[in-house]
């Protein structure tokens, strides 16, 4: 019996077999290591906390998360290319947010109106008329959710892990960026999942269903039900970057240089795609790459002209699917558009927009053809595998945490 002597035998052999690329001795002393240390020590981040980490905002109360409701995907409105300038509705009161919006839980009248790409073109027209503006910080506040299938007994159910991310990115030197993550929460997803969990005896830990294709007899992963470990915020010196674009941190300056015309933007992105250097996105199918890159831009501080151009290019993507009237994970009504997910057959990558506020409500992974495993827990077409629901994307003159 070797249970008490874990480091003999196969573990010792494994220790000897570590690849050179993961040898700490070889990883030490890189330029990146030194640069990061300098950045940390010279940042205007406050001195090490003398006590516990600063209090974060209390967890906001969340409404129950409904499964996305999908109207018939057949668009009844004719798709018309909208001539711009002067024909749109009068702009509403100036909006400080490009995305997100009120979390309205009242029941609206049944939605009507167009659901095809014309919705995106109309939004583009309205957005292009906004004045270009600029604040001190570009703020992204969004709630993320990921669903997972448990193997709880006797009733397996779907679990959702949710958290909120708050990012402040300064566009001027000498300021700090902030990234705050609210504690994750693990809990049953739909009412039927809550019922199953209770019928299972309300366990605080559940086994997780292994991904399809996992050989039998493998390890059983478990998840707790309840709050997850606390995540810490990480302030860092502003370096001019304001978020991720095409898998890289992008500067505000670079974003301002993008062309504000749909054709020119499409050309610019096409060139970028052809020259794609990032190892993580190299070789992606073109439409997939375009979708990801364009939707990146919708969360970033680009000019109104560029934002409008993004919506116009999206409207023209081959294979764009109109998903009709949907409710986003925060209960807000919007219109969904998606493309097939190259990496997850059976899923669409979806955005939900609100044509009333010309804003982006959420990005989500929409299940169009559930797998057998998903069907076994009652997941049907229209369910979400994951989402980022935006509460706020826009300018602010204060940081998310401190209000300064």
């Amino acid at each position: 019996m070797r249970e008490n002597n874990e480091n003999t035998g196969v573990l010792a052999a494994l220790a000897r077999s570590r690849p050179a690329t993961l040898d700490p001795g070889r990883l030490a002393g890189s330029a990146r290591q030194q640069a990061d240390l300098q950045a940390i020590l010279t940042s205007s981040a406050e001195q090490p906390a003398a006590g516990p980490t600063p209090a974060r905002r209390p967890r906001t109360w969340r409404i129950a998360i409904p499964v996305a409701v999908v109207a018939a995907a057949t668009a009844t409105a004719a798709v018309v290319v909208i001539a711009t300038s002067g024909t749109g509705p009068a702009p509403a009161a100036p909006k400080s947010t490009e995305a997100g919006g009120p979390t309205d839980t009242t029941q609206p009248a049944p939605p009507t109106g167009p659901v095809g790409p014309v919705v995106l073109l109309d939004m583009a027209t309205a957005i292009a008329q906004r004045p270009a503006g600029e604040g001190v910080y570009w703020e992204q506040i969004y709630e993320n959710g990921v669903t997972m299938i448990t193997a709880a007994k006797p009733h397996p159910f779907v679990l959702i892990e949710t958290s909120e991310t708050r990012l402040s990115n300064a566009t001027r030197p000498g300021l700090q960026n902030e990234a705050l993550f609210r504690d994750a929460m693990f809990e049953p997803y739909r009412p039927q999942d809550w019922a199953a969990w209770r019928a299972d005896g309300s366990p605080t830990t559940v086994p997780m269903a292994p991904p399809p294709g996992t050989p039998a007899g493998g390890p059983v992963q478990t998840s707790k039900i309840g709050p997850g470990p606390a995540d810490s915020g990480a302030p860092m010196a502003a370096d001019g970057t304001v978020g991720e674009f095409d898998d890289q941190q992008v500067t505000y300056a670079d974003l301002q240089r993008l062309p504000g015309d749909a054709t020119a933007l499409a050309d610019t992105l096409d060139q970028r795609y052809q020259q794609e250097k990032s190892s993580l996105r190299k070789g992606w199918p073109e439409v997939q790459w375009q979708w990801d890159t364009l939707t990146d831009l919708l969360t970033l501080p680009v000019t109104p002209a560029v934002r409008a151009a993004v919506y116009r290019v999206l409207a023209g993507l081959p294979g764009l699917v109109a998903l009709g009237h949907v409710t986003d994970p925060l209960g807000r009504s919007g219109i969904g558009f998606g493309i097939p997910d190259s990496f997850n057959p059976g899923q669409l990558e979806e955005i939900v927009v609100d044509p009333n506020t010309d804003s982006l409500l959420s990005s989500q992974a929409y299940i169009q053809t559930p797998t057998a495993q998903e069907r076994s827990v009652g997941i049907t077409t229209g369910a979400l595998q994951s989402y980022d629901a935006y509460r706020q994307i826009g300018w602010s003159n204060t940081q998310v945490s401190t209000g300064h």
Partner: protein, 177 residues
């Protein structure tokens, strides 16, 4: 010694270890980003940091990797694929030239689940004790012991299978008899 000097000393010692862990999960590029964020968190909490800090740092890195997954699911999946390649030696020297035992072990490791691989490499490559590993993986020491025992067994079986496909049985098999 100032706070900054003490921190720099800890950083010097621990940075490569945290990077080795993060890279084994999400590859070198994303691993460097995760490592950078981890040490920022450490700086903020320097006054209350546990000693020794390595298990705590790895726990923070692990949480940041989960957050990475939430933020960018697709990029995460690609990063994880790269991490697997690194962990199983696919990116390293030509397998044909490599030591026979390493080839067999890494091939066996490649056949295990991500969770098994993480657990086993925390013990074997990071040299953590059971209690420290439990801290990183956020489970009890008792649970961890059971998981480790089972993961070891699976690795042993996988080594048998990987070794049997080579003409030469590796030394490790002889020890098991």
């Amino acid at each position: 010694m100032t706070d900054a000097q003490r921190y720099a000393g800890m950083y010097e010692q621990c940075y490569p270890r945290v990077l080795a862990y993060a890279a084994s999960i999400v590859g070198r590029q994303a691993g460097e980003d995760i490592t950078s964020e981890t040490f920022l968190v450490a700086w903020r909490q320097w006054a209350t940091l546990h000693t020794p800090p390595l298990p705590w740092l790895l726990g923070v890195a692990r949480n940041l990797i989960r957050e990475f997954r939430r933020r960018s699911g697709r990029q995460y999946e690609l990063a994880v694929a790269e991490g697997r390649r690194l962990s199983t030696g696919a990116d390293g020297p030509d397998i044909a030239d490599d030591v026979a035992e390493r080839v067999v072990l890494l091939r066996a490791l490649a056949g295990l689940s991500d969770a098994d691989r993480e657990l086993l490499t925390l013990v074997a490559w990071q040299g953590l004790t059971t209690a420290q590993t439990a801290h990183v993986l956020n489970c009890s020491t008792a649970t961890l012991s059971v998981r480790l025992h089972r993961a070891r067994r699976r690795l042993e079986r996988a080594v048998d299978a990987a070794g049997a496909s080579r003409a030469h049985r590796p030394v490790i098999i002889a020890e098991e008899l």
